[in-house]
Amino acid sequence: MPESFAKRTVVVTDPSGVHARTAVAIADVARRSRAAVTLIKDQRRVAATDVLQILTMVAAAGEQVEIEAEGVDAENVLNDLEPLFAGKFGDEEEKTA
């Protein structure tokens, strides 16, 4: 598995912004991943596993957030995280499917 660094800028499209549930989902993905994931907004860097930090970043709809991942599967973890900023949670898709 490739050891790597990946970076992506996402726009929050969930109309409610990054809310409690999003933050929990982000932290879950980040914790499961073997890469170290960091979120950056307005030059503030927070660990993607820290829910209080994610929430107090206050990412509202329409705002940009940068995601950095360093380590194993860096690119994959970004792929998993991106839909969350659009308010798309895996469990709902399963239900509707």
Binding site: A23, V24, A47, L52
Partner: protein, 580 residues
């Protein structure tokens, strides 16, 4: 340093450590821990986090099982917010590096996070601050354990800062250690204002939100004269206020010898100085100041904060305590002056948009006779123990007065029938606190034994000003010529029939108005006990001729501002020697 402006409701200056209470009466504790206790304190923090986490996890399980995963999710978020690694390291740093107590660190840091949300425009996001406050409370509850009781158990002097103080909180506060109050909400008639006055400690209310910016143990100054609250004052401000507090103390000491001297003018006219009280223990303040009696015993506290309507015995015990202390000096018991909203077990009035003009006071009493009769029975029974007088509040019409007196007569018959001792000739009077009562006073005087001018309400109803409304409070002014004319009319009407008249509003306790009121003919002042020495001092330094000249001049003047500045000059002329 941060300065807040609120409404001054109880005078004086207090400097001290803040005791911050949240909406649940929860106490945010002191600031520092001993250097060698840091490791133990960190362990205590981790235990508290673990316990709080276990509690939240349990909630999540229960709620998910009962209401579904979606509802449990908010607890999952709380849980993860609590276990945030940056939060933990920030807390540790505060405890290790700055020797803050875990409680202080938790409250300080979580409030800082909450502020991030509170500053936002969107009310939806601002609501999230509540999630953080919730976590703060939970952690504090575990950290404080049994020490979390509000203001009931104190060990050192504190200034209490709260959103609001409820009667149940203040009823069991430790009076030895509370030195001042600040509340975010409330007006001049609020419960906090009344309790502060009773305790004779400075208080400022209605400052607006600020509690998230202070933590327990911080230094605070309360300026109860100007309505200012200063958080973390700088050296210079602190020095200035220390000096002022010292001056006030010296001034009070200088007036102490007046205690045993009569309130007599220089030309030998004896003035009566009575005390206003709310709580029975305040009678001691009256005795300490050499009061000639209790001119206004408010009985509202018996109802406020009570779970059930007070029984006749509860009333009787309270009255007895006051009468015992006052001996044969008069005690004027005023029947309850409350709206239905403050009464235990009474449904809230449905369409009361304007409580000041609504169903309250004597109106409420006449519609709830059993309630009224209970109080009257206790008051009548207490007439056997001392010099009790009974007074009805907010009387507007002759009919109301007659109805109230009929109820009283009826209760008397009932007591007589059961051979319960009481004084059948108990003096019965009324408050004069509406323009309607003043206009009809020439008729009222034929049906009462005494009168008492309640200036707080009289000013409010005359000038159409709500004193707790910041935008119009500036219009509330005892020196307004319209108010003074109503007072002059009342004095004349009372004088014509030789009916004793007193004044029990805040105006009568303000030394600024003493000369004017004496000049207008007032001979009986009923004031908050702490104001007795100052008012007495003025009485003893003036002649009635001086005062009449002042009153005549004032009654020709056209606006409150001129009147106030004129009165200030006059008072200075006569009592200069004491103030210097």
């Amino acid at each position: 340093m941060q300065q807040l402006q609120g409404i001054a409701v109880s005078p004086g200056v207090a400097i001290g450590e803040a005791l911050v209470m949240d909406n649940e009466g929860f106490r945010i504790p002191r600031r520092f821990v001993a250097r060698d206790a840091v490791v133990d304190e960190l362990e205590r923090l981790d235990k508290a986090i673990a316990a709080a986490a276990a509690e939240i996890a349990h909630h999540r399980e229960t709620v998910s099982a009962e209401l579904g995963e979606k509802y449990g999710a908010i607890f999952e978020a709380h849980l993860q917010m609590l276990q945030d690694s940056r939060l933990r390291s920030e807390l540790e740093e505060m405890i290790r590096q700055r020797h803050y107590s875990p409680e202080y660190a938790v409250s300080r840091i979580l409030r800082r996070y909450a502020q991030v949300f509170q500053r936002l425009e969107s009310s939806y996001l601002a609501e999230r601050a509540n999630d953080i406050f919730d976590i703060e409370k939970r952690l504090l509850r575990h950290l404080l354990g049994r020490r979390r009781e509000g203001i009931a158990h104190l060990t050192s002097p504190v200034l209490v800062l709260a959103h609001n103080l409820t009667p149940s909180e203040t009823s069991n506060l430790d009076r030895r250690f509370v030195r001042g109050f600040v509340t975010e909400v409330g007006g001049p008639g609020s419960h906090t204002a009344i309790v502060a006055e009773a305790l004779e400690i400075p208080a400022v209310v209605g400052t607006g939100p600020f509690l998230t910016e202070v933590s327990g143990g911080e230094l605070v100054i309360i300026d109860g004269d100007k309505g200012l609250v200063i958080l973390q004052p700088d050296e210079e401000t602190l020095a200035r206020y220390r000096h002022e507090a010292e001056e006030l103390r010296i001034q009070a000491t200088k007036l102490e010898p007046l205690r045993d001297l009569p309130a007599e003018t220089r030309d030998g006219v004896r003035i009566e100085l009575f005390g206003n009280i709310e709580f029975p223990y305040e009678v001691d303040h009256c005795v300490d100041r050499g009061a000639d009696g209790v001119g206004l015993y408010r009985t509202e506290f018996l109802y406020l904060g009570a779970e059930v309507e007070p029984t006749e015995e509860v009333h009787f015990q309270a009255y007895s305590r006051v009468l015992q202390a006052m001996g044969q000096k008069p005690v004027v018991v005023r029947t309850f002056d409350l709206g239905a909203d403050k009464m235990p077990n009474m449904p809230h009035p449905e369409d009361e948009r304007n409580p000041c003009l609504g169903l309250r006071s004597i109106r409420l009493a006449l519609r709830n006779l059993p309630l009224f009769r209970t109080q009257l029975r206790a008051a009548l029974r207490s007439t056997a123990l001392g010099n009790v007088q009974i007074m009805f509040p907010l009387v507007c019409t002759l009919l109301e007065l007659r109805q109230a007196k009929m109820v009283l007569a009826d209760v008397m018959e009932d007591l007589a029938e059961h051979n319960v001792p009481f004084n059948r000739n108990v003096p019965v009077g009324m408050m004069v606190e509406t323009p309607a009562a003043v206009m009809m006073l020439d008729r009222f005087v034929d049906e009462v034994d005494f009168l008492s001018l309640g200036t707080n309400d009289l000013i409010q109803y005359t000038l159409a000003v709500d004193r707790s409304n910041k935008d119009v409070v500036g219009l509330y002014n005892p020196a307004d010529p319209a108010v003074l004319r109503l007072i002059a009319m009342s004095m004349e009407a009372a004088d014509r029939k030789q009916v004793p008249i007193s004044m029990c509003g805040q105006m009568s306790g303000s030394p600024l108005y003493t000369m004017l009121l004496l000049g207008m003919g007032l001979r009986r002042f009923s004031v908050t006990p702490s104001a007795i020495p100052e008012v007495k001092n003025i009485c003893r330094n003036v002649t009635l001729a001086d005062c009449k000249a002042v009153a005549e001049r004032v009654l020709t003047m056209e606006n409150a501002r001129d009147i106030r500045s004129y009165l200030k000059e006059e008072v200075k002329k006569y009592v200069r020697e004491i103030n210097e």
